[in-house]
């Protein structure tokens, strides 16, 4: 293979003259994590609400929740990014749309919203499965004690469901980190985008991609280790830490 390896490239000055290529990549990682964490807040909040209303006895709430999940699951993430970035500002009232387009961090905010909503549909699936895996008696016991439906959810069902769905939620969190790379198509300079830029400036294709791969792996390992500690603390005693039978397909 005729390829000139040059691993020292990471310590050379990047064209933006603010630091080495290494610091560019680390900076990219910071953007990746910021995007993923901010989007995760939205995903967890919205996903919990949608997932919960899909288990209520009210048919219309269930249908609303189902429609929400189907909407976000059946359109590719890339297309959703374009919808949020290019289409939404045009559909809003003119002044608001222009303000949106001129925001200093437009691509970051768009990416966070898009990823948050996209992942919320998947979180909703998990939360629904978690509540569904509880035995029917729990809900009945709650209402028999005189709790209202919201109280039953608040004090009986949700505390158990969250402990059960933690493992699948961990993998959703890793997905959100990986999926944030799609934001490079709307100009967010996160890790993959910076790797690509580095490759274009230096032509050191494989060094750049190796570094990015290692960084993603590193983040993965950290998340897995942290979550393992949390899972141990939170696991319901007597249950073998098994997640509800969640669909295997997915990213």
């Amino acid at each position: 293979m005729n390829y000139n390896w040059n691993w020292k490239i990471f310590w050379e000055l990047a064209p933006d003259a603010t630091g080495s290529y290494m610091s560019t990549l680390v900076n990219g990682l910071a953007w990746t994590m910021a995007t993923a964490l901010a989007a995760w807040v939205i995903a967890l909040l919205l996903g919990s609400i949608i997932g919960t209303i899909r288990t209520t006895p009210n048919v219309w709430l269930v249908r609303l929740g189902d429609a929400y999940v189907e909407l976000f699951r059946n359109i590719p993430l890339l297309v959703q990014m374009f919808l949020w970035y290019f289409v939404l500002p045009e559909l809003l009232p003119k002044a608001l749309g222009t303000a949106l387009k001129q925001m200093p961090n437009a691509s970051f905010i768009t990416a966070v919203l898009c990823l948050g909503f996209f992942t919320s549909a998947r979180v909703a699936e998990q939360v629904k499965a978690g509540i569904g895996s509880l035995s029917k008696g729990q809900r009945m016991a709650g209402t028999a004690l005189g709790l209202t439906l919201p109280q039953t959810y608040r004090f009986v069902l949700l505390p158990m469901a969250y402990r059960i769905v933690l493992p699948p939620l961990t993998s959703e969190f890793m997905n959100i980190i990986k999926n944030s790379s799609v934001a490079l198509t709307i100009g967010l300079m996160e890790l993959t985008a910076r790797t690509r830029a580095m490759q274009e400036f230096t032509f050191q294709v494989f060094e750049a991609f190796t570094a990015a791969t290692l960084i993603y792996l590193f983040v993965n390992v950290i998340v897995v280790l942290l979550m393992r500690v949390l899972e141990k603390k939170i696991a319901v005693p007597g249950m073998l830490g098994s997640a509800p039978s969640t669909p295997l397909a997915g990213h």
């Binding site: 293979m1 059946n74 359109i75 297309v79 990015a212 993603y216 295997l248 397909a249 997915g250 990213h251």
Partner: protein
């Protein structure tokens, strides 16, 4: 809101969108599905193998590719495939690989990891006794796999395999970053040429939604049918 929309742009370009763009997307999805399921099943058999190096290699490969974003993998292989090709045929310079071949290899190798996990669960769902029974009848490993384990594993996992294929169909849109004319790529070319981003992207979203939603309903029906028969 829709007053100054120009839906004429779709009428003008739908032939290009579907016969160039969507045809590419569907073709790539179909080939990647077949290749991915075959390679994924092999990987699953390796992962479950009692030969340690084999299961270690397959496990490492699957876990590695599952922990990096698909976009990064697409970039990796876009640049790596010409070098691997040159290495295989012993050419001193990187060979020229078309965008289609490059993305097909990427999707087969990447989606195989996800198909592998599905097939692994499928194989593990078959009781050990059936494998032992196969051996007791004098079948060897490949015969047992081929005529006892894999047919049942495929059958049990068919709905999940198909759901994963719907996801693959959506993932193919990411070849957009290589400026390939898939469905999204074709739409964005027309959109930028005619300055009609809003109409085009809404149309693309609608088409994807209709296709994926119908497919997922079909998969659900199939799942019910299989569940009743078993």
């Amino acid at each position: 809101m829709f007053a100054n929309f120009d839906f004429d742009v779709i009428q003008r370009s739908w032939k290009y969108l579907f016969f160039d763009g969507m045809a590419f997307t569907v073709y790539l999805t179909a080939l990647a599905m077949v290749g991915g399921i075959i390679f994924g099943t092999l990987l699953a058999m390796m992962r479950l193998s009692s030969i340690k190096p084999l299961s270690f290699a397959a496990g490492t490969y699957v876990n590695l590719l599952r922990s990096v974003p698909l976009l990064l993998v697409i970039f990796w292989f876009y640049f790596l495939v010409p070098y691997i090709g040159a290495w295989i045929i012993g050419s001193p310079t990187p060979i020229k690989v078309g965008a289609f071949t490059s993305s097909l290899i990427t999707f087969i190798l990447f989606e195989a990891c996800y198909y592998c996990e599905i097939m692994r669960a499928g194989i593990q769902s078959i009781p050990r006794g059936q494998v032992s029974a196969g051996y007791a009848l004098g079948l060897n490993y490949w015969q047992t796999m081929q005529s006892i384990v894999l047919p049942q594993a495929f059958r049990n996992m068919l709905p999940v395999l198909l759901t994963q294929t719907i996801i693959l169909f959506q993932d193919v849109s990411l070849v957009y970053v290589l400026s390939i004319t898939d469905f999204v790529g074709a739409a964005s070319k027309v959109a930028q040429r005619d300055g009609r981003l809003v109409e085009m992207y809404l149309f693309v979203a609608l088409v994807y939604f209709v296709i994926c939603y119908s497919l997922s309903i079909l998969v659900k029906r199939l799942q019910n049918r299989i569940a009743i028969v078993r």
